[in-house]
């Protein structure tokens, strides 16, 4: 069985685990632990500490593994481990959480330095929050033009499929395909 992988990354509470839960064909495997930092407990009760895992089987010989990284910088050793040999990387950002944009910028720069995989930014739209648009987020994150930005709703299967389809297009254009 040949295994290929893509990475779903992004700051704390951006919607990475939800994104994987929405698309995986198996029960997602998560490594959640109770949040202990006061600023994090205000946002959610638990957080990914090692990785999330989902899968899409293509046929009897090929399978796509979807790995979700922890969002916090203190777990960045997992970003390196999971990012190795990834076909592509989706960085999910909560479009209304301005306080996490700086973390997203660091994360994108981290992957730009550590890998040569194509990167896609997915702006996750949470209900009832003010949100930034593509143009604004490009400026804030200082994104080069080879990193596209797409809007998404991590809870909606069609939306998640749209993000992954866009990433596959990028992999064909920029990635390691032979």
């Amino acid at each position: 069985m040949k295994k290929y992988k893509i990475i779903i990354s992004g700051p704390f509470a951006a919607g990475k685990t939800t994104f994987i839960q929405t698309i995986t064909e198996i029960a997602p495997i998560s490594t959640e632990a109770k949040t202990t930092k006061s600023d994090e407990t205000k946002v959610k009760d638990s957080t990914t500490v090692a990785m999330d895992f989902g899968r899409i089987t293509i046929d009897g010989e090929n399978v796509l593994h979807i790995f979700g990284t922890p969002g916090q910088f203190r777990f960045n050793y997992m970003w390196s481990i999971l990012g190795k040999d990834a076909l592509g990387i989706v960085v999910i950002i909560d479009s209304g959480a301005e306080d996490t944009f700086e973390d997203a910028k660091d994360m994108i720069n981290f992957f730009r330095v550590k890998t040569d995989a194509p990167i896609l930014v997915a702006l996750n739209q949470f209900d009832g929050k003010n949100k930034v648009d593509e143009e604004e987020i490009r400026k804030i994150l200082n994104l080069p033009k080879w990193i596209p930005v797409v809007e998404c709703n991590a809870k909606d299967k069609e939306s998640v499929k749209g993000v992954l389809t866009k990433l596959l297009g990028l992999i064909l254009a920029q990635g390691n395909v032979y």
Binding site: Y4, I58, K114, L168, Q174, V177
Partner: protein
């Protein structure tokens, strides 16, 4: 004659002995480096390094290669070296420092380049509008574009693999080069391919549509 294992004496200690004793002759070295097995000689005149030779390199690049040997054997043979042309002018501490700093650079380079036997393809997607390349970088790009590995390019240009890797690191960061796989240095055939077949991506498109 001075002979032994680098487990008992570090290479630094051996170099110090030859240098402090103001010896003239040839230091033969053989052992493992992060870039594979290396074998060669460093020539000394009155305790000063004057030249070096490996199967692959001559002069400073050969010394950098040999000083990266961590496990292996050494043999100092006192002999006349008047036939050896001086190609190295740096002192021993400077040479050790040079080799160490190159090894440190390699540790950073490894983030983007997995091996000196890596093979690359040229890419035009997402490269900056204006790029300034040095003549050496042009030569490196042209040779890598023909399917040569970093090791093979280094040999052709008489550069160390670390110096070529450093340029390649920059070219990968600029997205001009993309690592596509790795060759077996002995057989010259591709043993590892990075990424996925195009057919897999196409089937994944179709699978997503059906989900």
């Amino acid at each position: 004659m001075l002979e032994g294992s680098l487990r008992d004496f570090s290479l630094d200690e051996v170099l110090q002995m030859v240098s402090m004793g103001e010896k003239t002759g040839r230091l033969e070295l053989k052992g493992e480096t992060p870039f594979g097995k290396k074998e060669g000689s460093i020539f000394f005149k009155n305790g000063e390094v004057i030249d070096a030779q490996t199967n692959e390199y001559a002069g400073e690049p050969a010394i950098v290669d040999l000083l990266n040997i961590k496990e292996g054997y050494f043999k100092f043979v006192p002999e006349d070296v008047s036939h050896v042309k001086r190609s190295v002018t740096k002192s021993i501490p400077d040479l050790v420092l040079l080799a160490t700093s190159k090894l440190d650079e390699w540790e950073k380079i490894k983030n983007k380049i997995s091996s000196v036997d890596s093979v690359f393809k040229l890419s035009t997607e997402g490269i900056p509008d204006k790029i300034h390349l040095s003549p050496t970088q042009w030569k490196i790009i042209s040779l890598l574009g023909k399917g040569l590995t970093i090791r093979e390019v280094a040999l052709k240009l008489n550069m160390t693999v670390i110096d070529v890797s450093k340029d390649v690191y920059g070219l990968v960061a600029l997205r001009i080069l993309k690592e596509v796989g790795e060759k077996d240095p002995n057989k010259g055939v591709m043993v590892r391919r990075r990424g996925a077949p195009r057919s897999f991506i196409i089937r994944l498109f179709e699978r997503l549509r059906r989900l």
